[in-house]
Symmetry: C2
Subunit: 310 residues, 2 copies
């Protein structure tokens, strides 16, 4: 089958389209014909060798897919051949989304939301589950609570703003001024231009902060949290010194890395189908332009998501 | 670390205790110090080479564990070091329960039920989730419905009887006469001695049959199902001919193979803690007697579960 693969760690141009073996589904697994694959910052780290989750090349990147069930392994009855599904196969132990087919446990997938095309659906699993697991599972955000989302226009952030609103929270979000209108339309109640001054000024007693930005943003957010408030972070997700400072300050630290989770995916499907969540896809590129997709993701200037179409 | 391992496929005596490398948790994973490991029929098939899920030996078997969180990987906030957990690591792609430590995604585990010791808790994940996914996810058993469970005294069956009762169903169960009292105490409403005649005699219009026995039992169960009733089977779980016959007969076929699922595990924890589910452990053996544990599981005459203690 055709797939984007790489023979060595390196810059984006190590990514080339080639032929690789088609995966076989084991018991409990489904084989999905990939129609679109989301591109995430973690992909670029793994490609470059900065975060060698998949060992040495060659390998096929890609943890976000939307597609059609081509074959079901023994014992699977959640899906049938022909079903449209989306999911997050095998993160972080294996990958394969940048290819024609991927095989993974049925519970790494859920039914694709009606009303999204494959490119939109492929933008959702990894980033959407990240936001869901940070806000719901880790921060346990409740209706009426006040949350600050750092990076409200980004791949994870723009979904987090919508999910926090759907949970009934009052949402503060940081973004550069040019993106305020975009984030406001996602439902943010208060926009903060972090380039124009200290984001923390005037903010106090928040219930939760969700940091998708990093570079000390988490630590600088401590003063805006109430006693017992939660700092959920996906950038400094195992920073023991930060965790200790948060705890010493009477607050709760939650380092979050996303895990495949069919129940979370089903919750996202429900949010989409009830009109409360929509992924924003900034660029859809063909598989052959995976290197360009990585350059875009590494620019850190994207709004929403980047997707490869097959 | 110490683990039961094997250098070749073969009879139970290929299982010996040796030293293997301690696993390292990746991001999203926990390292669990194993206190007890459940033994399941699938373990014996893999050991013998009949079902080579783990490739060629050497490998460490074991998909059922109860133990204590020793270390958490980056991004995990569902558990902390010292938490007691139980789960079903990595089935069917990897294993490792028959050893001192196992590493797997946090969502392959849940909090160990209060009131169970580690041996009892290790008896529950694979068999309990199998029963849960068959009765709840596949058969969608409803209160007041009537279900027949084949093999009501077995490792999966004795948990299925209790789960079906907890769901509010009326439960028919087959077992040899010597085990009727055991299965009745689990909550079965009607006991059938399959050795004394045709189990189907007098049975009609059932909503569901759950077959844990095999050897044609599923097919012979079709006459007792109502139109649209469900045959859920874990023994003929990918039998296309059987599936076609079930469908042609106006009923629904659900071949079930268990998948790790933290939500299902949490449901089992809740059932245990509210007094509605208790695994029965027939034998607890030390790690050194893994071969004997496999002889017992292969005898097919066990009542409840067999567990290795570490």
């Amino acid at each position: 089958m055709r797939a984007v693969t790489q023979q060595s760690f390196g810059e984006p141009d190590v990514l080339t389209v080639g032929e690789v073996a088609r995966p076989e589904p084991l018991i409990t697994e489904v084989l999905v014909k990939v129609r679109a694959a989301g591109v995430n910052p973690v992909d670029a780290y793994v490609r470059a060798g900065a975060f060698p989750l998949l060992g040495e090349p060659p390998f096929v990147l890609g943890w976000d897919v939307s597609g059609v069930v081509e074959q079901v392994g023994a014992g699977v009855n959640r899906f049938a051949v022909g079903d449209e599904v989306y999911g997050m196969p095998f993160f972080p132990r294996a990958a394969g989304g940048y290819g024609e087919y991927v095989a993974a446990p049925s519970r790494h997938f859920a039914r694709k939301p009606k009303g999204l095309d494959h490119a939109q659906a492929a933008a959702l699993p990894l980033a959407g589950l990240t936001a869901w697991q940070a806000l719901v599972d880790a921060a346990r955000l409740q209706p009426g609570q006040r949350v600050l989302i750092h990076g409200g226009a980004g791949g994870v952030g723009h979904l987090a703003v919508q999910i926090a609103k759907a949970l009934g929270a009052e949402v503060y979000a940081t973004a550069s001024a040019a993106k305020h209108e975009f984030v406001r339309e996602l439902g943010a109640d208060h926009l903060i231009d972090y380039t124009a001054g200290d984001f923390a000024e005037g903010l106090t007693d928040l219930d939760a902060v969700f940091d998708t930005v990093g570079s000390g943003t988490g630590l600088r957010s401590l003063p805006v949290l109430r006693d017992g408030g939660v700092l959920a972070t996906i950038t400094e997700h195992f920073d023991e010194e930060l965790a200790a400072r948060v705890t010493a300050d009477g607050k709760r630290y939650a380092g979050v890395v996303v895990e495949p989770d069919h129940v979370g995916l089903e919750a996202l499907t429900d949010l989409v189908e009830t009109g409360r969540l929509k992924p924003f896809v900034e660029h859809v590129l063909p598989l052959e332009e995976a290197a360009q997709a990585h350059r875009l993701i590494e620019s850190r200037r994207t709004k929403g998501k980047i997707v490869l179409a097959l």
